[in-house]
């Protein structure tokens, strides 16, 4: 038994339990002790993941059910950071709404554990278990404001649709298991590549797995839950649903599609083309019509996921998988940048929200540049990054994806993506317009953005988007090495 490989998971499980217990016994309305235990624990976990990544460890554990490789450790490091940042941003918001407490922390930690298992899963069942652990924790988090109708509705929708997606995924996995006789990804890969297997069964399995993945990533036509959950769930929870778990979903896609079913790439790439085209199209067009910022960002998420899919579908060309590492590292870079930006945009909403005031309407941002120029500046950085305007990080993410895609010769797909990016730029710069060109309204002028740690961290977040835009090479190389060393 190779225990060292799963120390991070064990540590995380213990941390979740400790926080739950400590919170029961410490009398403190602000839950400071459990909050700090969580943060310090996450910091330690981050260091641990960083060390594992630096050591370049590649090991199997728990009877080949889990794998530790550079991609896993890098993504785990990023999910830990994203989770910690989410907690810092959420503090004020959750305190005001009575959600702040031990159950929030332990649910967040358990969802992180689920992400860890998804990222490290080397076996269909492990991946599924990780996904369920993540999803169940998130369902509970969305429903955490019991007395709030919208949140409860969002939780119901999320649960029903999420369960459906899990069903899809599980059905696809059972097909694969039936065809190959194994749950182990490496074995499945070998069987598909070498053995004569009924292709119809395999492809049917692939269809269901891709559908399940598309649900989790939020790609059209499996996107319906995203706008409702983003709008209905408490903003802090949206960040818990929409930031770190996206990295885990990306890892799951790599594990299932690439490590398990790369020999079938020509089949699932075709499906991803359809998903990507629809996601980019619908996401960008529907976002224009929104007046609720959270809902607009939900549609923007759908469009951004479409771009990740564009990179994911470029790994194999005419049966030749030479460009795989470049393509998947491009997708990973895009996802990391996307998560960084999402943390910032929702962080700004969280920071501006007050008791009884959600700051989620686009109008609530009117004249922000006058009332709080610094926050308006940070938000502007993030929005231009999402729109893909240099010199912000989002531009290089788009550049990398377009380069990868053009390299596969799909010129029309590139032109399509570019034209819809212009349409997408409209709603991002409309936010800039609201903040800079419009006069503050009575409601928006009354808000005073929070101070302290969250504000400093948010500034850092905005500057990181600029810094990564000026010097994107390091992170690109990091993503490339992680993917290349994982896929060999």
């Amino acid at each position: 038994m190779n225990w060292i490989a799963i120390y991070p998971e064990i540590f995380l499980l213990v941390l979740a339990c400790v926080v739950m217990l400590v919170d029961l016994f410490v009398k403190d309305t602000q839950h400071r002790v459990s909050y700090w235990i969580t943060l310090v624990g996450l910091a330690a976990l981050g260091v641990l993941c960083g060390l594992y990544y630096a050591s370049g460890m590649q090991q199997l554990a728990m009877a080949r059910a889990l794998i530790v490789d550079p991609m896993a450790m890098l993504l785990k490091l990023f999910t830990v950071i994203a989770t910690a940042v989410t907690l810092v941003y959420s503090r004020r918001y959750a305190l005001d709404r009575g959600m702040w407490g031990g159950e929030l922390f332990s649910l967040v930690l358990l969802s992180l554990l689920g992400q860890f298992i998804m990222i490290s899963g080397n076996n269909l069942l492990t991946i599924y278990l990780g996904l369920e652990l993540l999803s169940l924790a998130l369902y509970a988090l969305v429903a955490l404001r019991r007395d709030h109708t919208q949140s409860t509705e969002a939780a119901m929708k999320y649960f029903v649709l999420g369960a459906l997606a899990s069903g899809f995924l599980l059905y696809g996995m059972s097909m694969l298991y039936g065809a190959t006789g194994s749950l182990d990804l490496v074995t499945i890969f070998r069987m598909i590549a070498v053995e004569p297997i009924n292709r119809a069964v395999l492809v049917l399995g692939v269809v269901f797995i891709v559908a399940g993945l598309a649900f989790k990533l939020g790609a059209v036509p499996f996107h319906m839950w995203i706008p409702d959950v983003y709008q209905g769930a408490p903003t802090a929870v949206v960040l818990m649903v929409g930031a770190a778990p996206k990295l885990a979903a990306f890892a799951m896609a790599i594990r299932l599609l690439v490590e398990g079913m790369f020999p079938l790439a020509m089949d699932w790439q075709g499906m991803l083309v359809v998903l990507a085209v629809l996601s980019i199209g619908l996401g960008n067009l529907a976002a224009i019509a929104q007046t609720n910022l959270k809902r607009m960002l939900a549609y923007s998420t759908i469009a951004q996921v479409g771009f990740v899919l564009l990179a994911l579908l470029s790994g194999m060309l005419n049966g030749n998988g030479l460009s795989a590492s470049t393509a998947y590292s491009g997708a990973m870079f895009y996802m990391v940048i996307y998560v960084l930006t999402t943390l910032g945009t929702f962080g700004v909403i969280l920071l501006l929200a007050r008791e009884g005031f959600e700051a989620e309407d686009i109008r609530d941002f009117a004249g922000l540049a006058k009332t709080d120029p610094w926050m308006a500046g940070v938000m502007t950085f993030l929005l231009f990054s999402l729109a893909g305007i240099p010199p912000f990080a989002g531009f290089y993410a788009k550049l990398e994806v377009l380069t990868i895609l053009l390299n596969t010769g799909r010129v029309w797909l590139v032109v399509y993506a570019v034209i819809l990016s212009v349409i997408g730029a409209f709603y991002y710069i409309r936010m800039v317009k609201v903040m800079y060109f419009d006069a503050p309204t009575a409601l928006s002028a009354s808000r005073a953005a929070g101070a302290g740690g969250a504000r400093a961290l948010l500034s850092l977040n905005g500057l990181a988007v600029l810094a990564l835009g000026l010097m994107p090479g390091g992170l690109m190389t990091l993503c490339y090495q992680a993917i290349a060393n994982t896929l060999h």
Partner: protein
Amino acid sequence: MQSLPLLSLSIWIPIAFGVVLLFVQGEHRAGAARWLALIGALISFLITLPLISGFDGAQAGMQFVESVPWIRPFNINYALGIDGVSLWFVPLTALMTVIVVISAWEVIKDRANLYLGAFLILSGLMIGVFAATDALLFYVFFEATLIPMYLIIGIWGGPRRVYAAFKFFLYTLLGSLLMLVALIYLYLQSGGSFDIANWYHVPLSMTAQVFIFIAFFFAFAVKIPMWPVHTWLPDAHVEAPTGGSVILAAIMLKLGAYGFIRFSLPMLPDASHALAPVMIALSLIAVIYIGFVALVQADMKKLVAYSSIAHMGFVTLGFFLFSDLGVQGGLVQMISHGFISGAMFLTIGVLYDRMHTREIADYGGVTNTMPKFAALAVLFGMANAGLPGTSGFVGEWMVILAAVKFNFWIGLLAATTLILAASYTLWMIKRVYFGPIGNAHVAALKDIGAREFFMLAVLVGAVLWMGVYPKFFTDPMQASVQHLLQFAASSKLQ
């Protein structure tokens, strides 16, 4: 001085001052912000002067070269350099920024620090466009200029500023994103390099060249702007504050023309030759049709905006004649138009600050109440009409000569500009400045003070200098222009 990274300093000093300015917030510190901006703009301008004195006109290649690896996974370099084609635009940009800072001195009261900061940042970015020798670096600067200009038009513009800002942003973004696709294609074709000079040697099929040409056309023609993608410009100009109009007309329009000469002609010689008739036709439409459109404008800013389109038509016309004279004429026209259009918008700004109207009909007989100002304004009007002795004449003359050599009828059509430009400019001058005093508001006008006089006088000097002694400007261009035309003349088809 040679050891200093002059180009980097020219780019980053204004940007650094601009960023600092963003933090000098508040009404009470507006004075400090103005002085800081002026000092920053002046230092930025002075640092560009050694570029002129140190430039070796006999050399065709890039000078003041800097290159460090920037994004290694993509083999992108932070590579800068200027040749005879780009040389003049660096000091021109810095000079116009100084003038814009002066022009905003008492006029901009709302968030002055942000306004001035945006202009300084914009100045650095535009110099970056002219100095970049790596295509991706070029693109980053090219597109980053949209952000400050969008804010300038949207925050300090006129009543329809939001519409104009969006139109400006989305129009140009669509164009530049299509160019990005072409750049990525060239990157892949050249085996993984973004070096512009390297791309001159990459063989391309005719189909590829035509598609890339179209992609570049979208980016550059929108920026210039050429007919029929010019419709954003009058809106942007009318709504932009004076400084925005000045920079837009004097520098930003040149980014597009510069793109044609740096990218399209030498990289896509066969497509350029094949599509030259179309480009020439579009240029002539700009010169003649837009000239007529300018004639009927009732708003002074709109009139000058249309006149800009017509004058830029001369630039593209000159480029696509593929002769030394035509290209140099186009470049001279670009520089000269930078001075003149900037000055025209400044004079309109001077009037607007006093009367808060730009309608020609609201004026009349301004020369009676503002004699000093009227003298300068009329001079700029003459230059706009292409009077010999002013810079406006030189470029147009060179392009017309080249056009006549190329084909008499094209030359003849191009030469109609001398009549058209004179008509719309002088007619406007007559209605605004001459005749009896139009109304009580005009009667109450006060003549310009030292600040306004100084900023206009600088441009008068430039216009006359270039009109009387253009050799100073054309000498350093020759070698580089010939060098680029060699690439434009040699086929890339295999």
